[in-house]
Structures are given as C-alpha cells and as structure tokens.
Symmetry: C2
Subunit: 208 residues, 2 copies
DNA sequence: GTCTATACTCTGATAGAC
DNA sequence: GTCTATCAGAGTATAGAC
C-alpha cells in the first residue's frame, strides 16, 4: 500500500505537484471544452504527463472533474458568506458585487466550469444547489429583507437581487469572448464593469 | 441529382418534416450536452429516425450544428434591431428588456445553445460576433448615447447597459436549474423576473 | 512512478440491400 | 428514402515492463 498517491498522508512533494498540475490542466480543458469535449490526452499534454501517468494519480476522467467541482463549490460562495448583517446595507451589497466581479476576473476558468455544469442541467451538483446553496441564499435573502423592512435599501425581491448580482458579474467571465468582440480593442472590460456595476447597484439600492 | 434532399427546390413535405424533426431534436440535444457531448444516436432517436437516415438529410454532425447556429443568429438580434431611435427612450429600453426576457422564456434551448458556443470560445461564430453583432450594438449604443446627451435617460456606458440586459435576461434561461433550485417550489421564475427587471431598469434609467 | 503497448467501447460516417 | 451491417478513428482505461 505504500506509495498509493491518493492517500492524504505520505504524499511526496512531487506527487502533490503533479496532482496540482493535473487539476490545473484539467481546469483549462474542462472549462474550455466541457466535460465530454475534453479528452485525457489534452489534459495530460497540458499537464506535461503521459496519459497513463495521469491515470495513476486519478482513477478516471470523472474523478478529476469531480475533484475540480468539489474544490470550486467550496470557494465559490465565500463572497456571499461574507455578507455581514451588522454592516451598512448598501456598502455590504456593493462589496459583495465587487468581490464577485473580482472572482470573475481572477478565476474565469472556474466560472466557466461552473457555467458549463449548470447549462447541462447540473447533474453532478444538483444536490449542492438545492441544499447548501439554497440554504445560504435563503439566509442572506432574509438579511436583505430585514434591511428593506427597515427602509435602509430599496425594496426589491431579495432572491432576484442576488441572481442579478450573479448574472451581471459572471457574464464578464462566461461571455468574455463576446464582450471583447463587441467592445473591440482598447477596452478593459473588467475595469469598466466595475465602475458600471457600482453605479448600477448604487442607484438601484438607494431607498426612495 | 434528382431527389437530393439538400436542394431547396423540390423538397417534399416529408423531407421538410424530417429535416425539421432533426433540427428540433438536435436543438434539444446540443443545447443540453454541448456539441461534443451530443451524439448522432441521441439526436436520431429523439427525431425518431435511424442514424444513417439522419445522415441522409445532413452530411455531418457539424452541418446540423451549423444550420442551428445560423438560424439562431438570424433571429436572436431581432429584439435589439427593433430599438427605435424615434421612440420614448425609457419605454424603448424597457420594451427591449421585455422582448429579450420573452425570448429566454419561450426559447431557452436556443439561449443555451448560444451560451454553450460562447463559453467554448465561440469558434464557429466569432466572425458574426465581431462583425454583424458589433456593428448592430455600436449603432444602438450610439442611439442610447444620444438619448443620454439629451438628458432623457441616465448616463451609463451604453455598451455595458446592453450587456446588462443580455446578462440579466439570459440568466433565467441559461441558469434555469439553479434559479429553480434556489427559489424552491411554488415560484414562477419568469413572471417574477419580468416584474423585477422592469423595476430594476426603470429605476436605473431614470434621469437624476 | 512512469512509460509503451494494447484492449475495448463509443461514435461518426459509409456501403449496399430493399 | 430508409434500413442493416460495418468500417475507421478516437478515447478511456488497463497490463506489464522498467
């Protein structure tokens, strides 16, 4: 049993490095081609390994994909978790928008991997959506509703307000090629988006 | 040459019906699985034909997909084209939002087909994006900028304003499973979205 | 731990009978 | 025009040498 690479203990530095290289390469390929569109050959080549060697570290293509999704879900909701009920409502929500847009800018591959999964009906993460995700959103929506009841921000359906933040920020990662094609050269989509979205939500949330 | 099914002339009713059944089935499968994820077997089964028979009507899998994309692009921009420079600015833009959301509700498969294509880098439609689409958006953005210069709607970067309409309306088609998972039962996402987006853009566009 | 060789399955496409 | 049979290639995964 010694030398089994999937053991969490006793992982050499090389093994950890290779596993990371595989996951990084797989993120590249899966996010660009979808699960079925990606091949182990492509992933192995990007990772700089042979295909059998890749399969020494992960038992199957599915396993690589599952590992990526698990890590993604683990981090993806942090910005929403950080929404603080004790903070100033508008500032809290604007900070959330900003953190979410930063994620799109800094981790566009993760965003596209997630989008691919949802587009295809979320077969592998449906449970997480209607479980952890729904619970978290319901909780934060209640906080927003509380702020609205106090008249501190505009009254808008909290769930859809959260959807709008997701849609607007993720659009810049998921539809990046379209955004750039339409804007043409000489633009910095994320910088412009940041200014635009800040204005948008500032206007939207101001109580009458 | 007689009987060649791809000829536009001399297409029997059965041929037209089969071609349509194939395209409809292909839309189902491509939009749900992506290009690589879809198989001709699946498409043929949904269409109620054998695989070789499908390939009698279309020369290849690629050809079916290309035909779908061509039809899609042809119709997808109609709502934006309808934006009338002579109309009342806010009403025109709200009508655009509504038409676009109607498209998401009535043609979600088309929306997901398009999203799949963009997500994967738009290899087959990049030309259309930076050509026809960019031209149309630039033209309409100029109209919006004109309205803003006259102080009739709020001053916001027109291109990003258009992106925000796309992002918000398409989200309800492309991320449908997530929206429903988070909302839970007893909701009508599109009806709620329509009210929400109308409020959102009404507030956003009002001149100070 | 990593490689070469290969087994086996799936899938796009074709041939040819009817 | 439609079907059965089949080919050729790609792709996942395994065996086994080193």
């Amino acid at each position: 049993m010694t030398g089994e690479p999937n053991r969490k203990r006793s992982e050499t530095r090389i093994q950890a490095r290779n596993r990371q290289a595989i996951l990084d390469a797989a993120l590249d390929v899966f996010s660009g081609q979808g699960f079925r569109g990606a091949t182990l050959d492509q992933i192995a080549e990007v990772a700089g390994l042979s295909k059998p060697n890749l399969l020494y570290y992960f038992p199957s293509k599915e396993a690589v994909h599952a590992e990526l999704l698990a890590r993604l879900l683990d981090n993806w909701l942090d910005p929403l978790r950080a929404l603080d009920p004790k903070g100033e409502p508008k500032a809290e929500l604007l900070a959330y928008v900003r953190r979410k847009l930063d994620l799109s800018r800094d981790y566009p591959r993760e965003s596209r991997l997630f989008a691919n999964e949802i587009l295809q009906g979320a077969p592998r993460i449906m449970e997480a959506l209607s479980g952890d995700l729904k619970r978290l959103v319901d909780e934060k929506a209640a906080i927003i509703a509380g702020w609205q009841a106090e008249g501190r921000i505009a009254a808008l359906p909290p769930h859809h307000l959260i959807f709008s933040i997701w849609a607007l920020t993720q659009h810049y990662a998921d539809f990046d090629v379209q955004v750039r094609a339409v804007l043409g050269a000489g633009h910095d989509p994320y910088a412009e988006a940041q200014a635009f979205l800040e204005t948008l939500f500032a206007r939207l949330l101001s109580p009458e």
